[in-house]
């Protein structure tokens, strides 16, 4: 079995590729190969020895799906890929669209549908939550400069100003909204999302949907340390039935097919959980799940092969992950080969 994985950018804004690969390789019976699909010859995962068997540069999704398919076809001819696990938000739409063609080549995937991807989009999440009685911060979509006047009428400050794909800022006043609005508009385009600010603590759930409405597993975590980029740098598994129940509810309603991460805020004021985001892939902290008893990446592979997977029902509480910075020293040869030939 040869499994290709993306997201080897184990940086201070880490992709989920490395933890997915570590989870797969932790299985006692795993004897397959791992192919790393990379966008840059300096993705740190490339230089982690004994983790990945070979690497191939692939084009950014923005360069067009034909280019991506052509490159994957080339890699497939050389490596005979059995399964691709894309792990980055920005590439998911592309891989979902390529899914039928990949299947024709004999490459499996286990991905949400375009409809499922759209339901949880930052501009659609509010409606989804309201329709399913899930607490969600109030939000409005700003489609033009003229819509900005709605903010002061409908919100108390602070508010959260969010881009349609990435980035979010807390604005303490209307004057503070404007630079964030302009920055996000330039970078990601419309709509800009203005969201009620919920003061509280962040909680997350990693889960796996079987595509038929069933939840194969779900693990809840509280972030213990958050970087200035808002990334969880340490976290602990917790026992919170409300979060796990919500994961089951969301997967059942969407018939989610793939891994996902739910981001919640527990209001200091009311003690209630509010759903902030549904990220449509396994998160960078997913390696905590197998260590707590639920190897969700390994289960995803089995589901992709059409195998039945007995759902996980428990996990170890109080398991902690802590990220660290660790300088890898490597010879120039590997960097040179990938930079010039695009493969290793």
């Amino acid at each position: 079995m040869n499994i290709a994985v993306t997201g080897l950018n184990a940086t201070d804004n880490p992709g989920p590729g490395i933890p997915v690969i570590r989870s797969l390789k932790d299985q006692k019976k795993f004897s397959g190969k791992i192919t790393g699909l990379i966008y840059d010859s300096l993705e740190p995962g490339i230089y982690m020895d004994d983790l990945v068997d070979n690497y191939y540069l692939i084009p950014y999704p923005s360069s067009g799906l034909d280019n991506l398919l052509e490159r994957i076809s080339y890699i497939h001819k050389k490596e005979k890929l059995d399964l691709i696990i894309p792990t980055l938000d920005s590439e998911l739409y592309g891989f979902v669209k390529l899914q039928p063609k990949l299947e024709t080549l004999g490459i499996r995937t286990f991905l949400p549908t375009l409809e499922q991807l759209n339901i949880r989009g930052k501009d659609k999440l509010f409606d989804f939550c309201k329709a399913n009685n899930i607490n969600v911060p109030k939000n409005i979509l700003i489609q033009s400069q003229n819509d900005l006047e709605k903010i002061e009428k409908q919100f108390k400050f602070p508010v959260v100003v969010k881009g349609i794909f990435y980035e979010a800022y807390i604005a303490q006043s209307f004057e503070e909204v404007l630079p964030y609005f302009n920055k996000l508009k330039t970078k990601w385009g419309y709509p800009i999302i203005i969201q009620e600010y919920i003061k509280g603590d962040e909680y997350n759930v990693v889960a796996l949907g079987d595509g038929k409405g069933g939840t194969t597993g779900a693990v809840a975590m509280r972030k213990l340390y958050i970087t200035d980029k808002g990334k969880g740098w340490a976290g602990i598994t917790i026992k919170e039935k409300t979060l796990i129940d919500m994961a089951h509810q969301i997967i059942e309603k969407t018939k989610w097919c793939s891994g996902l991460e739910l981001e919640f805020m527990k209001s200091k004021e009311t003690g209630e959980f509010y759903l902030l985001e549904i990220n449509p892939r396994l998160p960078a902290w997913v390696y905590l799940a197998p260590q707590a008893g639920q190897n969700l990446p390994a289960a995803l592979v089995k589901l992709a092969y059409g195998k039945k997977v007995k759902p996980f029902t428990t996990y170890e509480i109080g398991k902690i992950f802590v990220r660290c910075s660790w300088d890898l020293i490597t010879d120039i040869k590997k960097f040179e080969t990938i930079a010039t030939l695009g493969e290793w």
């Binding site: 603590d201 909680y203 975590m221 509280r222 602990i236 917790i238 026992k239 919170e240 527990k266 509480i317």
Partner: protein
């Protein structure tokens, strides 16, 4: 007199490390605090707790009352305890 019960899912180790399994919060308490929490977990009432503390630690009754109330207030502030 108000008695208290600890939140469910609160684990206390022998070293005085508290872990609230529902919230992921952690705390450390000293020997006296650990003893009080363990007695609260056993659903002991205030008089029984005082009696145990006086047996185990060298403390004046008046000071114990004040320190106990302070400690209980801290537990309440962290939502680790509820009055019953």
């Amino acid at each position: 007199m108000t008695n208290y019960h600890l939140q469910e899912n609160l684990a206390v180790s022998d070293s005085g490390f508290l872990f609230h399994a529902s919230t992921g919060e952690t705390f450390t308490v000293n020997e006296t605090g650990k003893t009080i929490i363990k007695l609260l977990q056993q659903k002991k009432e205030k008089e029984e707790i005082f009696s145990e503390i006086e047996k185990e630690f060298d403390i004046e009754a008046g000071l114990l009352e004040k320190d106990y109330d302070d400690f209980i207030n801290q537990l309440k502030n962290f939502s680790l305890i509820e009055g019953i």
